[in-house]
């Protein structure tokens, strides 16, 4: 049997809005994935470290404070430094369209905006990252 997809749901930065992160974590778990939740107020270093230690396939970043253009690239850079550049990054939060394009061109696999159906997130992860496992 294939290994379950392992996902780290992470809250980078100082913002405490964890409703979305927890809803997504629950939905992924209910869809049969292994979900690890970092808790709040994580630095990029803490998130990269957890991702490597937990040997995840995907990191889901939730950020609503406007710091996404700092946090996403920094976490990806740290993962590459740790030789874990193959871990995929997805994200969501209050992120303007213009920045979504920029983030996706930097290598973020997908940014899910407000109102996204959790089944869309599940499908995306299953379709794209199944074989990474």
């Amino acid at each position: 049997m294939a290994r379950k997809i392992r996902v780290l749901i992470a809250k980078p930065g100082l913002d405490g809005h964890d409703r979305g992160a927890k809803v997504v974590a629950n939905a992924l778990k209910d869809a049969g994935m292994e979900v690890i939740y970092t808790g709040l107020h994580q630095t990029p270093e803490m998130i990269a470290e957890s991702a490597v230690q937990e040997d995840v396939d995907v990191v889901g970043l939730s950020i609503l404070s406007g710091a996404h253009m700092t946090m996403f690239p920094r976490i990806m850079e740290l993962l590459r430094e740790k030789g874990a550049g193959d871990i995929k990054i997805v994200g969501g939060g209050i992120i303007p369209e213009e920045d979504v394009g920029k983030l996706e061109s930097m290598g973020v696999a997908k940014v899910f905006g407000p109102g996204t159906d959790t089944r869309e997130i599940v499908d995306f992860i299953e379709k794209n990252f199944q074989h990474a496992a």
């Binding site: 100082l14 992160a21 406007g66 303007p96």
Partner: protein, 554 residues
Amino acid sequence: MKKGARSEFEKGKRQWELSFESEPVQDVDFTTVSAESVDPLYDPDHIEGFDYCRDLGFPGEYPFTRGVYPTMYRGRFWTMRQFSGFGTARDTNGRYHYLLDHGQTGLSVAFDMPTIMGYDSDHPRAEGEVGRCGVAIDSLRDVEILFDGIDLAKITTSMTINAPASILLAFYLCTGEKRGVRFDQMGGTIQNDILKEYIAQKSWIFPPEPSMRIITDIMAFCSNRVPRWNTISISGYHIREAGSTAVQELAFTLADGFAYVEAGIRAGLDVDDFAPRLSFFFNAHLDFFEEIAKYRAARRIWAKRMRDTYGAKDPRSWLCRFHTQTAGCSLTAQQPENNIVRTAFQALSAVLGGTQSLHTNSMDETLALPSEKAVRIALRTQQLIAHETGVVNTIDPLAGSYFIEAKTRELEEKAEEYFRRVDELGGVVKAIEAGFFQREIGRSAYEYQKAVERERKIVVGVNRFQLEDEKIDIPLLKIDPQTEIEQRNAVRKVRADRDNDKAARELARLKTAAASEDNLMPVILDCARCYCTEGEIIETLKEVFGEYQEPPIF
């Protein structure tokens, strides 16, 4: 009901029930947004035992169900207070003047995340967050700029700040002091509600015990020195935004309120010395009547508890005065113009529920901080309600409605049930430590999401009535990345220009005071006066109080 009238009523009711049951009903979810069931019709049976004087009374009279003041909006409208802040103090000062020029009647400060979490703008943890979701404040210098050209003796200001509330209050008071405004002339509110931070908003710094001590210090200080200040805005807003139901918002917020009152009494304060300055902050969500009933129930529960359980004698201690903000979590990124309509309905429920002040969200808030145009429409929404709709003409116009009175009673009873559960867990702090509120809210949030995804709950533009290939067609506010660099340089300049020996002495005094039982406010004011930064004051307190950690649960 007289006997003849009763039999006529029962006959009519049976007939209607038969007619209702013989007709097909739509397959639509008729529960509230909180998944509470609602009957198709309310009648006198729903309010059996209703007693006008006991349950409602008159406006400005116990139990204040109909409103906290005798005149309500005939005396004055609610304060139109838009929560606002972005970039530097200078940027936000411009927005404040814009809002005041357009008829806003109070100020409300939104701080950025580093300020909320007690980091100076040049701290490594502030990177990328300075001025992003609120205004960046590091020291008294920034607050002087923030209120440049604004008369602090005339305007009242609300500050959404919790763990560092004592420090921001000190910066504000010192700004007035430097301009010759006395402490007792300044009015406003600090949110200062740390319990709901642990429960929902999650912007904590210190553990619960020292956090509660700072709060009782503020209550004691203000009751003597800043009598027009609302020392805590006990907040349901964030509990609701985190996904709670209406009942949970009502119950958890009031439970927090009881915990503050008990803490004040334990600290040796007379309840009537501080309770009149406690105020509340509720959410105005989508379910119109449920929300109105919630505000009415809140007033009644608070009045009863304050009088009967805590023995408050001063009628002002019995008043549940509250601010309302429309529900940010109800807004959609899809077809954002529709948010104007959602916000208008929500604002109307707050006004019909007797709010004392109101923030209306801007249509673009799921995408960015509000643009000038979006915030103007939001403010105009309130002005429309006040001046065009006529709903202000009569006080508590929905009183006596079978539905509203039944819902008000039901919400009160369900809140009382939660109070019992919290008591069984050993009180609010113990319930927080056990993750009780967090789990309840998380469950409600997930249930709601599933109801939306099953299309039992319809969100216009999201799971029905969508537009193909929608392009967002409204201008968004952008924060210049230069802001962070400017603000970092500014705080370094403050540290370079001040008397550093004096600053170090005051911080050392603060550390001593924190380890003692002395009231912290006077020494925090002294730190503020000599331009100690927020981050320095917080770091000093952390050395004594430590930091809170939440176990990650979902």
